[in-house]
């Protein structure tokens, strides 16, 4: 029996760049034609990019999107193409839609039935839900059409199963977070098994502001077994000859169909030599996050018209990791590091900063902050009087650094990357307009314990053979593995107790509990919305990437510590609101994922 040749084109489109998106889609269709595919699928809203947000409220944007679709239609000779776009219906309502292009014209349109309006999603702000399923007859195979969320709900596949669909195609723009791949795989397997149909899921790839789309398109057979997967975090075309599972019930009666449509397309399948499956390698958990961050930086920088980035390099692990990611994303020639020592910087951290830059091959500028810091202190002295130095003087130093980076940015057109992690962002252990000043916050959603894991991962990757090195500098304190010579992040950076270096002998743990404890508290409170009572009853188990950087803590937490951390999170909302966008890698990131009021007197008890 002839197989259905499927092509899933996971494209990296850009929001609003309609013309470039059209060219990408056209190329994908042509490539699928060259492979003699019967059906080519591109991601959800591929024409506009995802999510287009309030561009959807501009009638001229909707019209431009419709013109792109019209220009695409003639490309659909000799195959069927499913293209995500915005459809305006006769009542003027918008739909998140899939156009079915065949024989050079649009032959049908499907409207997404389940509109997500939670987490980072606002689809009910724009779209009206569709009513009714769509089944295409492609060379005698019944292909059901769904868009993203439709596959996460039970009803659409059940309806398609009842209509006799053998394959369900899904156009997605499904944002990444660590662990989501497994969630998707399980869910899709269940959908396949429940309804005895194959599933072909085509996901977007690329970065859009805070979101990363990870690709990783997937085809499962009717028993829920994975047959092929697309690459993670890069463009790919997944090609497969699918032997359609046994046909379901015969053609359903008009009554059973309800609002559903079955559209016969005349095409017949031909016998061809079968394709060999080229399955992409599946990334390791920490590697996956690293690749997400790299793609996020590359796309934010380039899609916003920048080429070069600049960041402050302190000798700490956060800025060292950010430098690695930037160098990997853009190439070391496009990264500038600025070392900005103060009276409180140790010579060891400065030396480490230079070592990181050297290992990565990125250019270093050295700008001491003392002249500006002194000018501020002297100028403010008459107003500050005899008050003891406090956070005001600490923030001044961070703000001088932020101002220097922005001055370089303004003068040379470099985008400033900030280097704060999620543990700091959550607790407000940051300086607004200081270390928070910049265009893109690379690791803002990465908890400190994971920062260490990523740093070690990057060091391992730098070593040929990926072997465990002998520690270069004797026994290394908190870390399990350490950097050796030749790796970008020196062992001393991994071993040193974290410090903002804004006051004499300062360490983070003067203010914060150990990160191994803090990150678990934050996971419970921020990501899982747990109450203080629940947290005190049972702290989440150790974080999936292991507990490193400090001594292992138990499953209990001192109530006073928990309360203090929660209060820090609550009262830092105003700071986060003014921070730059950054890459979401956890199930709940700060940003449109978590919409907390600033004015908020609700206190946990």
């Amino acid at each position: 029996m002839a197989a259905l040749r499927l092509a899933l084109a996971q494209l990296n489109v850009t929001v609003g760049d309609l013309d470039a998106n059209r060219r990408l889609i056209e190329e994908a269709i042509h490539r699928a034609q060259a492979w003699r595919a019967d059906l080519v699928v591109v991601p959800e809203l591929a024409v506009t990019g995802y999510p287009p947000e309030d561009l959807l409220l501009k009638p001229q944007f909707i019209e431009a999107n419709a013109r792109v679709l019209e220009r695409l239609s003639p490309a659909s000779r000799g195959l069927v193409a499913l293209v995500g776009f915005v459809d305006r219906d006769r009542q003027g309502r918008l739909h998140n839609a899939a156009a079915v292009l065949a024989g050079g014209r649009r032959v049908a349109t499907y409207h997404k039935q389940w509109l997500p309006n939670y987490g980072v999603f606002d689809e009910k702000r724009y779209f009206t839900a569709g009513a009714g399923s769509l089944v295409l007859m492609v060379g005698g195979v019944r292909v059901g059409v769904t868009i993203c969320e439709d596959l996460w709900e039970e009803a659409p596949c059940r309806a398609l199963g009842a209509l006799g669909a053998q394959v369900v195609v899904n156009l997605s723009s499904s944002p990444y977070h660590a662990g989501k791949l497994r969630v998707r795989e399980r869910l899709f397997a269940r959908r396949a098994q429940e309804n005895r149909l194959a599933i072909a899921y085509c996901n977007l790839v690329g970065g859009q502001d805070e979101l990363i789309f990870d690709g990783a398109s997937l085809i499962l057979d009717a028993r829920g077994r994975e047959r092929i997967r697309g690459a993670q975090f890069r463009e790919d075309m997944v090609l497969m000859d699918l032997e359609p599972p046994q046909m379901g019930p015969g053609r359903p009666s008009r009554a059973a169909r309800g609002a559903a449509r079955v559209v016969p397309l005349s095409r017949a399948l031909t016998e061809r030599p079968r394709l060999r499956l080229a399955r992409a390698r599946r990334l390791l958990p920490v590697e996956e996050v690293y690749e997400a961050l790299t793609l996020g930086v590359r796309d934010y920088v380039r899609k916003n018209g920048f080429s070069t980035v600049v960041l402050g390099l302190s000798g700490g692990v956060d800025s060292a990791l950010t430098a690695c990611i930037a160098a990997d994303a853009l190439g070391p020639a496009e990264v500038r590091a600025v070392v900005m020592p103060s009276r409180f910087s140790s010579s060891a951290t400065q030396a480490d900063a230079r070592r990181v830059a050297k290992a990565l091959g990125i250019e270093v500028l050295e700008i001491p902050i003392e002249p500006m810091f002194r000018a501020y202190l002297e100028t403010l002295q008459p107003h500050f009087g005899t008050r003891a130095p406090d956070v005001a003087e600490q923030n001044l130093q961070a703000r001088v650094r932020g101002t220097l980076l922005m001055a370089l940015s303004n003068k040379f057109g470099w985008l400033v990357l900030t280097t704060g992690n999620k543990s700091e962002t959550a607790t407000g252990y940051t300086t607004l307009y200081g270390d928070m000043a910049g265009g893109f916050a690379v690791i803002k959603d990465v908890p400190k314990t994971l920062v260490y894991e990523l740093a070690r991962f990057r060091n391992r990757r730098a070593r040929p053979g990926d072997r465990e090195p002998a520690p270069a500098f004797g026994r290394v304190g908190p870390g399990r593995r350490a950097g050796g010579p030749g790796v970008p992040i020196p062992a001393s950076v991994l071993a040193r107790a974290p410090s903002a270096e804004l006051a004499p002998n300062q360490t983070d743990q003067d203010t914060l509990p150990p990160y191994s404890l803090l990150d678990r508290l934050l996971k419970a409170y921020v990501e899982e919305d747990q109450s203080l009572r629940a947290i005190l009853a049972r702290l989440p188990a150790a974080l999936p990437w292991g507990t490193t950087g400090a001594a292992q803590a138990g499953n209990r937490v001192d109530p006073a510590v928990a309360q203090r951390v929660i209060a820090m999170v609550d009262r830092s909302e105003y700071k986060r609101r003014q921070g730059p966008p950054g890459i979401k890698i956890t199930p709940k990131a700060f940003g449109k994922d978590r919409r907390m009021p600033i004015t908020n007197r609700f206190h946990q008890s």
Copy 2:
């Protein structure tokens, strides 16, 4: 015939302050009892404050809200109380609800049927829509219950009319923008007339982050005539004896009712001496905006636990107006002004800045920025080399000022108010971390032309008798009216061409078109999402507050100018995203009202 005594309690509750909100609601019920009211209404979600945003995702928040409602119930002796709260149904779904309290217990619950999910609203993120109307029989009068959006749609009042409702009560938390009062009045009059029922609309009052709730509760008779209104921008209790309009159709059959419920409450109306109507004065259009801004500052500052604010006073109209608003909101003793002259500041603007502070009675600190500015220039010189001074040096000055204000804030616990207007915010004619640095952006949604009108309004109010003064300093340039002696904003401030004073002889109009033109362009593009083509065909008519501050422009605009302004708006999205929250006073403010992607390549043509 005995009348129904209605009490609408427009309260200023605080998001999350459940205990304080409970006390406010309890006091309102007691006050209504003292007035012998039959029915007392408090605003939508009065228990939690509005909008509670993602606090709604915390189960402990929902439980705490339910406990508040339980504690409130016993207060409902001798009257019926309608209280807005969050109801969790048996399936665990949340509803935006009104509890009907009577005889000391909850006797019924209504679920909002229309959930707004546009503009600043995200109600579908949290709530499930209710199904079915609720009519209460209060002393023989049929009272229909609605919540906010229910009254904006046709269906709910129609259903209530069919159920024989004579009065429709509406619990609202309806955010303010200039001109909305008239929109509401017209709409409610239509609803009353369409269905021949009286309408009693009770609105929230107060500031919550970017939103202002303006109160202005309203009772209309069944012919749509306004009978009484509550105060704007302050707490008030609206009391009225309503003679119920003629009863509609008799008790409808069970079938006609569908999911609707009619709940008889045993209470009978008693004859009492009629109340005299105490109708609040209606504010003038510019006065209304001024009061909105004042309330916004007062509530943001106090609800966030601050008492004192600090702002930079430049001698320009924006900071002068902001100082007036702050002094009116908090009292002059709680406002600090900082004058921060540079090598580019004229002595005239500095003198004006001091004059504003003196007239308002606020303390001035004087901190020249030269030492820091010089330190930055010298330090950066080796890196900047021979490049000509540009925006980098301009931004440095603004950032030194921002850093000084933040240092004072950190040292003394003062909240920094920023002074940028909407015209600047829209075009990005601002410095990130410079003049944008601060906790609250008072006039961020006020176009520059309206800034001038508000300044003149505030000056007029400062003069006894509110008369037109003879211009104090000869003929005053662009302004129609000018400040005289004794008024807070000197005529010279209103007359001077606007300038950022960051470069020699700089004026805003070196970069921007005249504000009279710019503000109309921005209204079309930002607030109305018009395309460039539509804007070129016809620019919006003059702005409602008149065109001042520059020569009147026609209805045509140079395509190159329009294109440049649109490009400025588009590419400033990243700046706005990092700006502090500020008060919404237009139909579409920057913030959650306008959710544009930063990464966005859609260009108008």
